[in-house]
Amino acid sequence: MKLGAYLLWTPVAVAAGWTVLLGYLLDDAVNPLADFRLLLLRWAVWIAAGAVLIGLLNLLAVHWSKISLLEPGWPYSALVLLFFLTTLVLGIVFGTNYPIVSMLFQYVQLPVEASLMGLLAITLVLAGVRLMMRRRQLTSAIFLAVALLVLLGTGPWLIGNGSALQEAVVVGQRWITQVFAAGGARGIVIGIALGAITTGLRVLLASDRPYAD
């Protein structure tokens, strides 16, 4: 990064950060920078919208390059481009309420993505089955025991529904999810907060300049 650009962009970034932060902490009625903060946020929204368009154009360019060079798998790229352009034109011209657009979404996009999630469920079950066959360790046994307990406590029972055993399993499942899982989640949240504070301070103090490169 050149010296001149560094001297220009660093004050701009630091000033924008402090403005948004103070606008968030202070009341808008007594904050003279409230309007300026909202302006900066709207600019951020615009930039994000531009980033989405850039991502779409990049996707188009990558697949177009594969087609033009006839690289392996180029027919798939051709299909992607075909449906991409079709959906884009239909959505822009007719809107998202157009029946064809809704049909493409309901019968193509949604089932495909839902199938991927279903495959994930099968893969997780398969991994659990193989776990004790390949890694005969205490941690593996504990992992499988906890998974079985949570599944039994979450799902319905075929028989013995409402029995004392089911009650005990449900209590155990709740104890695990409310204590261990929630405790782990709190730790994750606290860690994220500390990391966000540290990163924010570094950026606000110009110690970290992600916009430099």
């Binding site: 946020l41 919208a49 099968i122 079950v125 659990g128 075929l158 409402g162 994220i192």
Partner: protein
């Protein structure tokens, strides 16, 4: 002090030595200086006088004998200074010797232009510096060279010693007889004996050498000044000027005897060259070989004599020399042994070409350089260790393996991933069969078994005002639609049942379509019309920043991205007309399947919503992340709902069974299959571990 340095090896030798005791080189020149036909070592008095400038240079040279700083001069220098008192230098004022009077030019005659050369010519090579600086007589430049006089020896005639010179000599003699004083060095005594009279007779300086005008007495020399030839020795050493040597004027040249040097040629000695018969070449007969004094080392080279015969006998008796063991080990054995056998001289070949053509016995380079040499017997002898043998065997095996053609390994039969297929088929069948058959194998949970969060959720739903729109944030991908729609469906149904106007906002590109999909399904049940009962605000890009911007000023944020063109100006709708900030909404519902985005919305919206409730409907995977926000004392999250059991309970509470119930049996069946597979795999693994451990 009485030592002279060998010009060849720089060894100090006594002054009377003729040859060097170290290398045998001659220390005193035999020939080349006319000394009246005398041969042999030169005596100090035989040497020609050295000019004054040469004396000064020699005295100034560092390391020369006689050099000493003026401040701390040695005894010899002090004595010389004593001898050079002002009263002793030169004749007394007004007293000019007769010889000087005779040779002095007339007052009207111009002074001879014979400037003394300041730069000394190079000293003759090989001449001992110490000897020349001490034993040589004063320079001829100091001798009174009178115009028209070519024999300066006439100036030192006996019997003409002046009185002042006699006083000097008498004082010197007395000084020598002082008790406790070390005897003077021979060379210094000789030097003084010869230099002082000459200096006394000669003028101490060129300036003084000029004849004074008549009537002017000679100016006495300065007090500190000694004789002219001794002044440079008393001065501190001065750098030798590096000027080119100037020729000595003819008047200052040493006299050359007419008998030996009729011409300007330097004296020389004819070379002694013996012909093949052993006789001297012409011109060498008149050289008296016996009179030539050869150094000892040359005398030793002379053959013959009984001593040589005795030496031959002793050499035969000598034991052969032995080489130390360490040197023997380093000696290359046979490798560099020369194959050239030295032959008798008569049998040696005559060189035919080159600068040595015609010579016999010349070492031939061809056999050594060009011709191949036979290897020694031990050339191939190598110390081989076991490690070398092992490495050699390994290398041999590798080479043999390379030589053989590797057999083509039979292709491994592709095994059917049976376990994968079994697991996949079991789960699919467990989910599909109840869904296809419409089976109700699993009982619906009774209200006592409903999740405890349901009560709180419905309690918050009951506080939502109906005069303002509630915001529904769709923040999940289509892949999660199966789970999310089952959970949020009863919530939307309940909202429409309560007649709460809705406004949807998508934070994912596909969120808008997902929102339309849900609202279209339940709006027909409740008679909600698009634009009146519910509005779509569209897609809001920007993640956390967009959430912050929208919660702070929904209308400006929406307008900044263009809003939803198909919906027109949604903010003129009665349900949204009063909305200026996020807290103006009746409630904010977060439908999220992403932990990061759900956390962002909860953190961003919590402080800005004031009393507006925030309710989260999330997937089962996100629920543990949002649980801490919900369980806190001042929760930013007022209610949370997740999972199919919660949805089924909510439908039960709404009194309308919908998607949750239809998915309850496939869900239960799939869960049961997964539990069975996990348990079976765990037992199989434990059994295999036990069976393999038992034989061991």
């Amino acid at each position: 002090m009485d030592e002279i340095r060998c010009p060849m090896c720089s060894t100090l030798n006594p002054s009377e030595a003729d040859v060097c005791r170290q290398c045998g080189a001659r220390l005193k020149p035999v020939l080349g200086i006319p000394t009246g036909g005398k041969t042999g070592p030169l005596e100090a008095g035989d040497l020609p006088p050295v000019p004054d400038w040469l004396n000064r240079i020699r005295s100034d040279l560092p390391g020369e004998e006689g050099e000493a700083p003026a401040s701390e001069g040695p005894d010899w220098l002090g004595r010389m200074r004593e001898a050079a008192t002002p009263g002793d230098e030169g004749p007394p004022a007004g007293e000019v010797p007769e010889w000087l009077k005779e040779d002095a030019p007339a007052p009207d005659e111009p002074a001879p232009s014979a400037p003394a050369p300041r730069t000394a010519p190079p000293a003759p090579a090989g001449k001992p510096a110490a000897a020349s600086s001490t034993a040589e007589p004063p320079s001829p430049s100091l001798t009174p060279i009178e115009p028209g006089t070519s024999k300066p020896n006439e100036t030192s005639m006996a019997g003409e010693t002046p009185e002042w010179l006699s006083r000097i000599r008498d004082r010197e003699a007395k000084a020598r007889q002082r008790p406790g004083q070390e005897p003077e060095e021979d060379w210094l005594a000789r030097f003084r004996d010869e230099a002082i009279p000459s200096a006394a007779q000669a003028k101490p300086d060129k300036k003084e050498a000029r004849p004074e005008p008549p009537g002017v007495s000679p100016k006495p020399p300065p007090k500190e000044a000694g004789p002219a030839e001794l002044r440079p020795m008393a001065r501190p050493p001065a750098p030798v000027p590096s000027r080119a040597p100037e020729p000595i004027p003819a008047a200052l040249q040493p006299p050359i005897p007419e008998t030996e040097a009729p011409s300007q040629d330097l004296p020389k000695v004819p070379a002694l060259i013996l012909d093949s018969g052993g006789t001297a070449t012409p011109g060498a007969e008149d050289i008296d070989l016996e009179s030539i004094q050869l150094p000892e080392w040359m005398s030793d080279l002379k053959g013959g004599g009984p001593e040589e015969a005795a030496g031959e006998r002793s050499r035969r008796d000598l034991a052969p020399a032995t080489i130390p063991a360490w040197l023997e080990a380093m000696r290359p054995i046979d490798t560099f042994r020369s194959v050239v056998e030295i032959q008798p001289e008569e049998e040696q070949s005559v060189e035919a070409a080159g600068p040595l053509a015609g010579l016999r016995g010349v070492l031939l380079a061809e056999p050594v350089v060009a011709m191949p040499r036979a290897p020694g017997m031990d050339m191939g002898r190598v110390d081989v260790t076991d490690r070398h043998y092992a490495q050699a065997e390994l290398l041999q095996k590798m080479l043999e393996e390379e030589a053989h053609e590797a057999p083509v390994a039979p292709g491994q039969r592709r095994r059917l991933p049976l376990l994968r297929w079994v697991v996949g088929a079991a789960v699919l069948l467990a989910v599909a069969i109840p869904a296809v058959l419409g089976a109700t194998w699993f009982p619906v949970p009774s209200p006592e078994q409903w999740p405890p969060e349901l009560v709180g959720f419905r309690s918050v739903m009951g506080r939502i005002p109906t005069d303002r729109a509630s915001l529904l944030v769709f923040d999940y991908e289509p892949g999660y639609a199966g789970e999310m729609e089952a959970v949020l469906g009863p919530v939307v149904d309940d909202l429409m049942t309560r007649g709460i106007p809705l406004a949807t906002l998508a934070t994912r590109p596909a969120g808008r379509i997902l929102a339309e999909r849900i609202l279209a399904r339940y709006s027909s049940l409740h008679g909600f019309a698009a634009g009146e009962g519910f509005l779509h605000l569209g897609y809001l890009p920007g993640g956390a920043t967009a959430a912050q911007a929208f919660l702070a000023a929904p209308r400006q944020a929406w307008e900044s991205v263009g809003g939803a063109p198909s919906e027109g100006d949604v903010w003129v709708s009665p349900s949204l007309a009063s909305i200026q900030t996020a807290s103006d909404f009746g409630a904010v519902f977060l439908f999220s399947a992403g932990a990061e985005s759900a956390r962002t919305w909860v953190e961003q919206a919590g402080p800005l919503l004031d009393s507006t409730p925030l309710l989260a409907v999330v997937s089962a995977g996100v629920e543990p992340i949002l649980r801490p926000y919900y369980d806190s004392q001042a929760p930013p999250l007022d209610a949370i709902a997740s999972g199919l059991p919660m949805a089924l309970a909510y439908e039960g509470a709404n009194g309308r069974q919908a998607d949750a119930l239809s998915r309850w049996n496939p869900y239960g069946s799939g869960m049961l299959a997964a539990e069975a597979l996990l348990a079976g795999g765990t037992l199989y693994g434990l059994a295999g571990w036990l069976t393999r451990r038992r034989p061991a």
